[in-house]
C-alpha cells in the first residue's frame, strides 16, 4: 500500500520558472491538503480539497494554484517561482477530515 506519493523529491528552480508538484494517494480519501514547512516553523496550509472538483485556499495560498480533477491526484502549481517559496512541501490526505496521512515531501529551492 503506497499511501501518499509525492514527486519529485528534490527540485531546484530559477527565479521566475514554473513547476508542478505532484501528489497522488491510493486510499480513496476525499480530503487532500498541501502544506509548506519552513525551518523552525509549523506546517502552514496552502490549499485543500474536500473532493474532486472542489478546492479552497488555506493560510498561505499566494503564488500557488491547485486543481482536483480526480480523487487520487492533487497537484500544486507554482507560477513565477520566488526565493520565498524555498521550502519543504507536504501533501496529505484524510478519509473523514480527521487523521491526515502525509507523503514524504518535496524539497524545493528557488535560486
Amino acid at each position: 500500500n503506497a499511501g501518499v506519493t509525492q514527486t519529485p523529491k528534490f527540485r531546484i528552480l530559477k527565479i521566475g520558472q514554473s513547476m508542478t508538484l505532484q501528489c497522488t494517494q491510493d486510499m480513496n480519501h476525499n480530503y487532500m491538503y498541501w502544506y509548506r514547512q519552513d525551518p523552525g516553523m509549523g506546517l502552514k496550509l496552502i490549499y485543500y480539497s474536500v473532493g474532486a472538483g472542489i478546492t479552497d485556499k488555506g493560510e498561505v495560498p499566494n503564488g500557488y494554484n491547485v486543481s482536483r480533477s480526480t480523487t487520487e491526484d492533487f497537484p500544486l502549481r507554482l507560477e513565477l517561482a520566488a526565493p520565498s517559496q524555498t521550502s519543504v512541501y507536504f501533501c496529505a490526505s484524510s478519509s473523514h477530515g480527521d487523521i491526515q496521512y502525509f507523503g514524504a515531501g518535496t524539497r524545493l529551492s528557488v535560486l
Binding site: G40, A92, D98, A104
Partner: protein, 114 residues
C-alpha cells in the same frame, strides 16, 4: 486566531530518562488534538488523536494526555530510536471543522543519547 504552542523547542534525554513534552492551545472549540512524529527528511507520521479532556492514549513508550488547555506527550524510559521531532496539531470545531483543517505547532525536537 488559533494558536498552538509547543515546549520545549528542543529536549535532550539520556536513554531511560523519562520526560514530558507540552502542547498548549487556544481554540474556540476543540474538535480534536493530534500528535505526529517526524523523522529528518520524512513526512509527519500519525501517533495519537485525543478528543476530550481527561482522555489518554498509549503506544509503546509514549502516552498522550489532554486537558482543556493543553496536552502532554509523556515518554517513559526513552530509547535512541525515539529521537525525532514531535508535532502537535489541533482542529477547531468552530471554524470549518468539516474541512479537516489542522493548525500545527512548531514541534519539539527530541534527542535521546545512549
Amino acid at each position: 486566531e488559533d494558536q498552538v504552542t509547543q515546549s520545549p523547542e528542543a529536549l535532550r534525554l539520556q536513554e531511560g530518562e523519562s520526560s514530558s513534552l507540552n502542547c498548549s492551545y487556544t481554540v474556540s472549540g476543540l474538535r480534536g488534538l493530534f500528535w505526529y512524529r517526524q523523522d529528518p527528511g520524512k513526512g509527519p507520521e500519525f501517533l495519537f488523536t485525543l478528543y476530550s479532556a481527561g482522555e489518554e492514549k498509549e503506544k509503546e513508550r509514549l502516552k498522550a494526555t489532554l486537558t482543556k488547555k493543553e496536552s502532554f506527550l509523556h515518554i517513559t524510559a526513552p530509547k535512541p530510536e525515539d529521537s525525532a521531532t514531535y508535532l502537535c496539531a489541533v482542529q477547531d470545531s468552530d471554524r470549518g471543522s468539516t474541512l479537516g483543517r489542522l493548525y500545527f505547532g512548531r514541534g519539539t525536537q527530541l534527542t535521546v543519547w545512549p
